[in-house]
């Protein structure tokens, strides 16, 4: 029987032996059990690995996109060349299937971009442990560590080159290292590169069907955002309710308003916005009316509208409202008397026209849907005897309270 030869593992085992001799003794008492990981902890650990894998995946895809895009611009080979994807390694301690995702994405990129002149071929022997005996000895090694195995795989698949990909998390950056090895006995590395995800740049999420450069992808992103336009058309469905004084003889009905108008943002960040709308209210046999309203909104959550999270706006506005109907006597400055009751009986509906200020908060999602609540002050009706107040700050009374749902187009 020939000598037993161990390839890559040989020097490593020898190094391990040297390190073991140097290692300081651990402060663990003899026979004491090591840390026990129960099922719940194991599940939490796996969940954590999954979350990390999801974070890494987008950046790994981004780096692969950049690598393959570079190959489309500067192909490694002059003619179409069969290659083996020999090995993909992911950050140490991540075992979440990320490797399979990376392999699939890389294969999709290469298949969709023939300009790379790479033709992927299958190589199950590359990642398997193989035992190979020859005249010089027996080798136990992973396929891609054994020149003989790789040569055999190359012969079977027709490939003469192998691609190795390695991802590693270095602090906040993900680093992709790639090398291409020619599958001859000398195993020369014909290409090697290293790409790092910059701290300052988010993943570009390029389409794998037609790769574009990073600059072009960023430009597309910006154009998509900036084409939102500064002008929107909001439709508000809201209800306003007014407080009544304890001595009032009039029951206040809620006013349901349908409003429509335009809203203009001053910048793409939509920190400030102004809107104008007109509205109509109608409650059968009770009241109807119209309203004109102007409003200025200020973003509270951040310095620019969020693309992914709801935004909270403070708004202040003024309105002019005219209502007529039985319950509009609520806004009369005088106490309801018999004359007004008789006028109503003759079919002459009481009418009230007043101005109001309102302020409130609006929660808006992606500038499409919003809900808001506000308080309304009717400064010209401070002496209306039937009108009460929800909030009385002394210097200002808020007689009305309202809520709206908004849909922006």
């Amino acid at each position: 029987m020939g000598r037993v030869r161990v390839s890559r593992a040989s020097w490593l085992l020898w190094g391990l032996a040297a390190l073991a001799a140097l290692a300081p003794s651990r402060a663990r008492a003899a026979g004491s059990p090591g840390p026990v990981v129960d099922e719940a902890q194991a599940a939490e650990l796996e969940k954590l690995r999954g979350e990390l894998g999801a974070q890494v995946q987008l950046q790994a895809y981004d780096l692969l996109d950049e690598l393959v895009f570079e190959w489309t611009q500067h192909p490694l080979f002059g003619v179409e060349t069969p290659v083996i994807l020999a090995d993909v390694t992911v950050p140490v301690s991540l075992g979440t299937g990320l490797k399979a995702l990376v392999e699939n994405h890389f294969a999709a990129l290469v298949v969709n971009h023939r300009q790379t002149r790479l033709v992927l071929t299958h190589c199950p022997e590359c990642s398997a442990y193989v035992v190979r005996s020859g005249a010089k000895g027996t080798v136990v090694a992973r396929g891609y560590d054994s020149p003989e195995v790789l040569s055999a795989a190359a012969s079977a698949s027709g490939s003469r080159h192998a691609i190795f990909l390695d991802f590693e998390a270095e602090g906040t950056s993900l680093v992709l290292r790639a090398r291409v090895t020619r599958l001859t006995p000398e195993l020369p590395i014909v290409f090697a590169t290293s790409l790092s995800s910059a701290t300052s740049g988010p993943p570009l999420l390029r389409s794998e069907e037609a790769l574009v450069s990073a600059a072009a992808a960023r430009k597309e992103h910006l154009e998509a955002l900036e084409n939102r336009g500064l002008l929107t058309v909001p439709i508000h469905v809201g209800v306003r309710n007014y407080a009544t004084s304890p001595s009032a003889s009039v029951a206040a009905s809620p006013y349901v308003w349908l409003q429509g108008g335009v809203e203009v943002a001053f910048t793409q960040a939509r920190v400030w916005a102004a809107s104008f709308s007109i509205g109509y209210t109608w409650l059968p046999e009770v009241h109807d009316g119209w309203m004109a309203q102007a409003r200025i909104s200020r973003l509270l959550t951040g310095r620019a509208r969020s693309l992914t999270l709801p935004d909270l706006y403070f708004f202040f506005g003024a309105s002019v409202t005219s209502v007529q109907g039985a319950d509009s006597t609520l806004f009369d400055k005088e106490v309801v008397d018999s004359a007004s009751i008789l006028a109503a009986a003759r079919g002459t509906l009481p009418r009230a026209t007043f101005g109001a200020f309102h302020l409130g908060l609006e929660l808006r999602v992606k500038n499409r849907i919003g809900v808001s609540a506000f308080l309304e002050a009717l400064p010209t009706l401070g002496d209306a005897p039937a009108l009460g107040s929800f909030v009385d700050l002394g210097f200002v009374k808020f007689q009305g309270f309202g809520a709206e749902a908004s849909f922006c187009f």
């Binding site: 602090g171 910006l222 509208r305």
Partner: protein, 215 residues
């Protein structure tokens, strides 16, 4: 102006106050441990708007009352304690460490050598990443690198395992050359963790049966 209108002034500085919540430095809203988990980079306002569209307020035509600075931060992929401290210390600086080692090796070794690279580290997964990074670093410095590794016989390994590092590395180098695993025009770059308590790597060169540490 009616007094209640002064209420309208309250929300105007609110975004500036809310921005404190995003401040990555330790303080009221962020502990030291949380602050250590992020890496931040200062950017110009223009670069920040380009890289993070919609998240940085556009420049006002008439300027701003408060001078603001853009700072982009990203959480570390692995929080402290999620990986072995020594592995984390090595892996988080792997590019810098291997670049330094490769530069030194390329500068001190004879020209026109074909390099083989091996790493000696307790964890095999980390060891393979170190070797990968070292190969890429050598290639990027114009060196000719091979994916081959020197193979020693089992008997050699038995003897080497009983030697202290000061003797083991030179002896292994001599045996590799003697057995023909390394030829005259080939050299081995060994990247090793010499002491298990340290958090950096060392490099040695094996050429024509002679071993020497270079870093």
């Amino acid at each position: 102006m009616p007094p209640f209108l002064y209420l309208l002034l309250i929300p105007i500085p609110f975004p500036e106050v809310a921005a404190i919540a995003d401040d990555p430095s330790p303080g009221i809203l962020r502990t030291n441990t949380e602050a250590r988990g992020v890496d931040c980079e200062a950017l110009s306002a223009e670069a920040a708007r380009a890289l993070h569209p919609g998240q940085v307020e556009e420049a006002q035509p008439r300027g701003a009352f408060i001078e603001s600075q853009a700072m982009t931060c990203r959480h570390r992929f692995f929080k402290n304690g999620e990986r072995s401290p020594r592995d984390e210390a090595i892996l988080s600086r792997l590019s810098a460490i291997t670049a330094q080692l490769a530069s030194t090796v390329a500068a001190t070794a004879p020209p026109k050598l074909t390099w083989q690279v091996e790493s000696y580290y307790p964890d095999s997964a980390v060891a393979s990443k170190i070797a990968f990074a070292a190969k890429v670093a050598l290639v990027s410095r114009g060196q000719t690198v091979s994916d081959r590794v020197p193979v020693l016989a089992a008997g050699d390994l038995l003897v080497l395992g009983q030697q202290p590092p000061s003797k083991a590395y030179p002896l292994a180098c001599a045996r590799a050359f003697a057995e023909g695993a390394l030829r005259d025009d080939e050299a081995l770059m060994g990247v090793a963790l010499i002491d298990s308590r340290e958090t950096t790597l060392h490099a040695g060169i094996c050429h024509r049966g002679s071993w020497r540490w270079v870093e």
